[in-house]
């Protein structure tokens, strides 16, 4: 009953004309970003974040979330038509989607991708709505040691699944913690790592690092070459985009599989939509009666991963909103957005800000309907985005990045820092250091330090407090276990296979 009341309230918020507009803007931008290879949701959300500071927070979070899940719809278009994933979550869709396109069934592949995304995306939101409130109530019993342990576990999971090298992922996370320490220590007012610069006393702005590492790093990396991919002609007319009844029948288990696997993986920090779609594809193949045909253009090979990567969004928002723990680079930016607007995601977020939580949930139902409508008949139109010349696109992204940073602080020093982090983002890509652990370390750094220091204040300096409380002991043991996985050959092989996807 409580959930139903909340949802009705959420629809009242989401149906406000301005919020409907922001929802549309978000899913529209998300679709475009998803279609464009080389520009992902974290980069886009980071770039647009400063521009939301003057917006109503409900409209702003509805728009940013729209970009997040809208990109997953759009990503399938590029995967199916060009064999190039529009964003990382659509990698697995390339396998059967592109083969279907080569056989002249691009329309059916795009259609089933949109329908699977809609079904699983809606199930994911349903999961978020049902799981988040009770989890938040349970988390009310958490104190500083549990929070420290939870953040350590989240960081460990992200490190495990962020890149091939655990050492590099850990180093990235530790550098993120260091960047988070720059500025004035709030416990003792000591200035740390400020290099004598007044501008650094208040710390390094999250937005500067996120835009530098994600947006600029991505653009510089893409500007290394001038290659253009070839586009398969789009089928004309909506009739070609609707899958047949047989296609729908063949995909019915894939819808369910994608919805459940995607949501469950999403709730785990570090899981992410790429892993969700890979697992869902693997499961679909394992139980299929025609498993030998996977990879040759099987419709359920498109439906399962596309469903999973959309359902994952709902799952990923559960730990973010109820525990304040982001599980990926994108959700870390959403966490920073909420904090910058003056909110504190955690167990009290839902009761204290029902407008925001239920408004977001309701907007996601509406957004999924908008995306279905946008993606079914309008795919040919969206595919034209792929014809945007990169020599025009990249300068525009650089421009929006600079405006975004400058508008947030009005500081030329921040623009200089943006250059530094842009270079860092590029070098990290070149040297195979994953960006997600750095961003997560930065997002969680001050919270982790605060939780650890408060824990030790409670215990008069004894570290035993972290292992003497059952929940924190279990979570720290799990974190340790997670980091030891690469030492076990079989588990590490599974991890590397997941990353290969």
């Amino acid at each position: 009953m409580e959930i139903l009341t909340g949802l009705l309230h959420g629809f009242a918020v989401a149906f406000e004309p301005s919020n409907l507009l922001w929802c549309f803007v978000g899913v529209f931008l998300g679709t475009v970003v998803g279609i464009l290879p080389g520009l992902g949701p974290p980069a886009t959300i980071a770039m647009l974040l400063p521009l939301t500071f003057s917006m109503n927070p409900a409209g702003a979070i509805i728009m940013l979330a729209g970009i997040y899940y809208g990109a997953k719809y759009g990503g399938s278009t590029t995967s199916i038509l060009m064999n190039v994933p529009g964003e990382s979550a659509s990698v697995v869709t390339c396998i059967d989607g592109y083969q279907m396109a080569k056989k002249g069934r691009a329309g059916a592949a795009l259609g089933i991708a949109a329908i699977a995304s809609f079904v699983a995306g809606t199930v994911g939101v349903l999961g978020l709505m049902l799981v988040a409130p009770p989890l938040a109530k349970f988390a009310l019993s958490f104190s500083s040691p549990e929070y420290f342990a939870l953040m350590s576990l989240g960081l460990a999971l992200v490190v495990l699944l962020a890149g091939r090298s655990i050492v590099k992922a850990l180093l990235a996370a530790l550098v993120g913690l260091w960047i988070a320490s720059v500025g004035t220590d709030l416990f003792s007012t000591t200035s740390r790592f400020t290099f004598g610069r007044m501008e650094l006393l208040s710390g390094i702005d999250f937005v500067v690092v996120a835009i530098g590492v994600f947006a600029l790093g991505e653009v510089f990396s893409n500007m290394e070459t001038r290659e253009d991919a070839t586009l398969i002609p789009m089928p004309k007319g909506i009739r070609n985009l609707l899958p047949t009844w047989q296609d729908m029948k063949d995909s019915r288990f894939a819808f369910l599989n994608g919805s459940v696997v995607g949501f469950l993986v999403g709730t785990l920090p570090g899981g992410g939509s790429t892993i969700a779609s890979f697992l869902s594809y693997g499961l679909e193949k394992a139980v299929s009666r025609r498993k030998d045909q996977f990879g040759t253009g099987v419709i359920e090979g498109v439906a399962a991963p596309e469903g999973a990567n959309n359902s994952e969004t709902g799952g990923a928002l559960v730990p973010l909103l109820t525990l304040g723990i982001p599980g990926s680079g994108t959700t870390a930016i959403l966490l920073a957005a909420l904090v910058l607007w003056g909110f504190k995601p955690g167990p009290l977020f839902i009761p204290e800000h029902p407008d925001l939580f239920w408004g977001l949930v309701a907007s996601m139902y509406i957004g999924n309907v908008m995306l279905l409508v946008l993606n079914l008949p309008l795919v040919p139109l969206f595919a034209q985005v792929l014809r945007t010349p990169v020599y025009m696109l990249y300068p525009l992204i650089l421009g929006v990045s600079m405006v975004g940073v400058y508008s947030a602080s009005g500081s030329m020093f921040d623009l200089t820092l943006l250059m530094v982090f842009g270079l860092l983002g590029y070098l990290m890509r070149k040297l195979d250091y994953p960006a997600a652990p750095l961003i997560l370390g930065l997002a969680l750094g001050s919270g982790m330090e605060r939780a650890l220091r408060q824990s030790l204040m409670m215990s008069q300096g004894s570290l035993s407090i972290l292992v003497s409380r059952p929940i924190s002991a279990v979570m720290l043991a799990l974190a340790l276990l997670v980091l030891m996985i690469p030492l076990f050959g079989k588990f590490n092989a599974w991890r590397l296979r997941a990353l290969e996807a």
Binding site: V167, W178, P395, V403, G422, L431
Partner: protein
């Protein structure tokens, strides 16, 4: 991303080790544990030591690998990317003098004409349109202040 892995691991490992040493040295100057609990040096000391240890592991594992591991570094690609970064940095440096609009137009012109070898006329039209578009959308329509130069915009 393979190409960077050869000596890249070695040099990035050394750079990170130096960063770790700096962090540890700084943290040692701050209070570690006081009467009211952990001080400002407590947390940085731990991750500083962690950075040193992990970067040492990275360097050692690189040195133990066969020297031929990894593809050769593709300098032309890196040079292109670094040129774009340098152009952006110069553009930011010019903000105080020329302002955002003119600097951004110059950046667009450089990228389109020099990096993507499009016709000068195309580059000029795009540069002027993009800069004017940014000014109209952000400064005029959205009220976002852009860095102004000696020309006043």
């Amino acid at each position: 991303m393979e190409e960077g892995r050869g000596s890249g691991d070695l040099w990035s490992g050394i750079a990170l080790a130096l960063l770790g040493i700096y962090i540890t040295a700084q943290a040692c100057q701050w209070e570690y544990l006081g009467p009211e609990g952990p001080g400002p040096g407590f947390f940085p000391l731990w991750y500083g030591v962690g950075i040193v240890a992990l970067s040492a592991l990275l360097v050692i594992s690189h040195l133990r690998r066969a020297p031929a591991a990894g593809k050769p570094v593709e300098w032309p690609r890196i040079t292109r990317a670094l040129s774009a970064w340098l152009a952006l940095a110069v553009s930011v440096a010019l903000f105080k003098t020329l302002g955002f609009v003119v600097s951004f137009a110059l950046l667009c012109y450089f990228i389109v004409a020099a990096m993507y070898r499009r016709r000068l006329r195309t580059a000029a039209i795009f540069a002027v349109s993009a800069a004017a578009g940014f000014y109209l959308v952000f400064d005029v329509a959205l009220g976002v202040s852009l860095p102004a130069g000696i020309l006043g915009f």
